[in-house]
Symmetry: C2
Subunit: 449 residues, 2 copies
């Protein structure tokens, strides 16, 4: 009872954030986005920021906050996002996704990790350093509300507010470690391109008996189109691999040294066998090689039982993860051109690019890297590994392009956190260690010559 009360008090800000379903891909959630931004502003002021404000963008607002330290020479900008993924399929959740639940030493909720939970780690570290008077450099916070839909408004915001965002280093907690006992620093991210495809056959749904065999079926055609885009783990869109830089033997050697238990990996996600591009290991495939995933598909009759219909429309959502040298706009053009080039005259196909962004690489020779290394070592008792990861945070490469600043990715997620899935969660222990690590990073950062 006493412990629950203490936990509730400690996590109060995070619980309040989680209770707002700030789903950026859902246009009916505009009010929730604004509510969540205003809440962050209040939280940051309470935590010790000198000023905080909710600033408009073309899309969802950005929260900016700042703490200036007299005489400080350097500034660290903390980036995070207050938007979350949709919670569907909601029926697979064991708790209400928007009601934080502590159970089995974990916090369960949409955003428990990505990225309300991890931003909360940054917040708490900041708050404690301010309270203890240990902070020796300026700290700025920027929290956006469109990360999960590709940060469409943030680049323009950065260009318009270069002075406000001026900093020496960007710090982000929105990635994961290899395992609870395998601290790691993310030194690479994949880029992303995402499209929606609409195939139109006849102008109305037809009786499959009267027309079947004589009129092209848009679902048949969509399947053919999508199936033809990969071949045995390779993407077949012409030019797709042109800018993919091969891993060097040295890099492959380092990747091979990352502890990885294939049987545990398969068991954890319930598969009999992994599958991917020939000639690459699982870690290489999911972090250093491009991928092609159909994220959603729909069309025709999807209700109970059998309906014999030759439908008018079929749709798919398709995404490619890209490696750092691939330009997502070029890839998007190649994709659209390819679809156009093979569209038969008996259906119409429309491709809409939905979002995208570049990959990112952080050199371990950067002067801030040892500070991060020392921080992880202090919190987790072990030297962290430098690893490239398969996810995408497109804004990181934009920061570099627009602000000219590198970002260090101190992420405390774990694979079992099920981000983007039902039953997202985060171990309470990771909050504590994460806060410890971030505090230590700030301390170490002041010691860099």
């Amino acid at each position: 009872m006493e412990e629950t009360k203490e936990l509730d008090a400690f996590y109060k800000d995070l619980f309040d954030l989680i209770r707002i379903p700030s789903i950026s891909s859902d246009k009916t959630r505009k009010d929730d986005m604004h509510r969540c931004a205003r809440l962050w502003k209040d939280i940051l002021l309470n935590a010790g920021a000198d000023k905080a404000e909710v600033m408009p963008t073309e899309g969802n607002p950005v929260v900016f906050a700042e703490k200036r330290i007299d005489g400080a020479q350097r500034t660290v900008l903390v980036y995070g996002h207050y938007d979350v993924m949709p919670a569907d399929p909601v029926e697979l959740w064991q708790t209400d996704p928007f009601e934080p639940t502590i159970k089995d030493g974990r916090l369960w909720a949409r955003g428990a990790d990505d990225d309300k939970g991890q931003s909360f780690i940054q917040l708490k570290a900041f708050q404690q350093l301010v309270a203890s008077g240990e902070l020796k450099h300026n700290v700025k916070f920027i929290l956006e509300g469109e990360e999960e839909i590709g940060s469409p408004s943030l680049e323009a915001f950065c260009r318009n507010h270069r002075d406000l965002l001026q900093c020496d280093m960007i710090l982000v907690s929105d990635t994961s470690m290899l395992d609870k006992d395998l601290p790691s620093i993310t030194t690479g991210l994949r880029g992303l391109a995402y499209w929606q495809i609409e195939v139109t056959g006849p102008c109305r749904d037809l009786h499959s008996g009267h027309f079947g065999g004589a009129v092209a079926n848009p679902i048949n055609e969509l399947c053919k189109l999508l199936a033809g885009m990969t071949d045995n783990g390779r993407i077949t869109i012409p030019g797709f691999y042109d800018d993919v830089v091969e891993l060097s033997p040295r890099e492959r050697e380092m990747i091979a040294q990352i502890p990885f238990d294939l049987e545990k990996y398969k068991a954890n996600i319930g598969i009999n066998e992994v599958h991917g591009e020939p000639g690459y290991s699982t870690i290489e495939r999911n972090s250093c090689r491009p991928s092609f995933d159909i994220c959603g598909i729909w069309g025709g009759y999807t209700g109970e039982g059998a309906k014999t219909v030759l439908p008018s429309k079929a749709y798919a959502k398709v995404s490619c993860r890209l490696v750092p040298d691939q330009d997502y706009e070029k890839i998007s053009r190649l994709f659209c051109d390819y679809v156009k080039s093979i569209t038969p005259d008996y259906v119409k196909i429309e491709v809409t690019p939905l979002h995208g962004g570049e990959g990112y690489l952080f050199p371990i020779t950067h002067p801030a890297y040892p500070a991060a290394e020392a921080a992880f070592k202090k919190a987790f008792g072990k030297e962290p590994l430098a690893v490239r990861r398969g996810g995408s945070i497109p804004i990181i490469s934009t920061f570099e392009k627009v602000l000219g600043v590198k970002t260090i990715l101190m992420g405390f997620g774990l694979e079992s956190n099920a981000i983007h899935s039902p039953n997202e969660n985060m171990q309470l222990e990771m909050f504590d260690k994460g806060i410890e690590a971030v505090k230590e990073f700030h301390r170490q950062y002041d010691m860099i010559g």
Copy 2:
């Protein structure tokens, strides 16, 4: 006003039937199925049947009615179905699908044609012949409630009630004519096989960044599986064409003589080009050759915007129209075997046969054929053409197998009636002419030697 009242009175029974949403594929509609059966029983008694009853089956009940004529030697059994297709996508209807609406000389509603409207034609013809004392043979009615889901209970019902159903000829109005001014008698139907496919990848939805490229995506795999089942209009499942009888040069010649305007056909359904098996005409493709249609597909994220997910599951509903010599159970086995043979070890694939039935051929040398010919000629002023059609009424071949009786298909639908689609409708003129034709058939049938 006066005219509306008259129409309402004439169509009252049909309107009452339409207002009951007797959707057989929807398991929550059990009460409506029973209500609709009871209503048919009352309507048949009112129309002149000596007796009528609602009889139980393993599934939805069957309505049976009978009118005996003293001294009659022969019996005609009228078959129809009181179940309808689902109305979705409901948003595309311009009127309430379950509220009959007369507009522009047509009746608009789900079931206006298939098969409440056409069964109503049989009912009215029967009623008028009883009233005028012209009926010289016994008439029986059997109306089932599971035609749109493949009549799963009717074969057993027929086997259990062979005596009750004893007859010399079966008469069915559940097909269409070539055009309003092109009366035709359906002398062939395609068979049908229908499956649901479920592909399972990981046991939960995964983040496509963390896993994409290393773990098989069930939607990618489903698309590959389905795309691989056809090649340029041919079905590639091994053995699929083994029992397909080629059209004879004589048959192809007859088909070529059917008036057919390809440009009008394409314009009517809004396509630029037809597409199908090479070497066959559109009419051959949609009536005498097998087809492969994905009737529905779904999986992953289908909401607004972009969600980057590698989903756990993907589903499809697939149907094949078959030609009369193909055994649907054999085809279903070939389908399941094929899927099993190519299932990779990195996903699980489950195939569930949902329903099916054999095709049907009616020889124009049958003694009842001239009676039907004369009936169409009287009502439409033109000799009807004998044509094979692409739809399926699996129970017709079952009647032949179990009761040993041929069925004559006197259908009054038109392509523009949009059966199985939004805005199903039937021209009022076709009701009048249909009733005229069916009455004439009964008269002519008595004159057969």
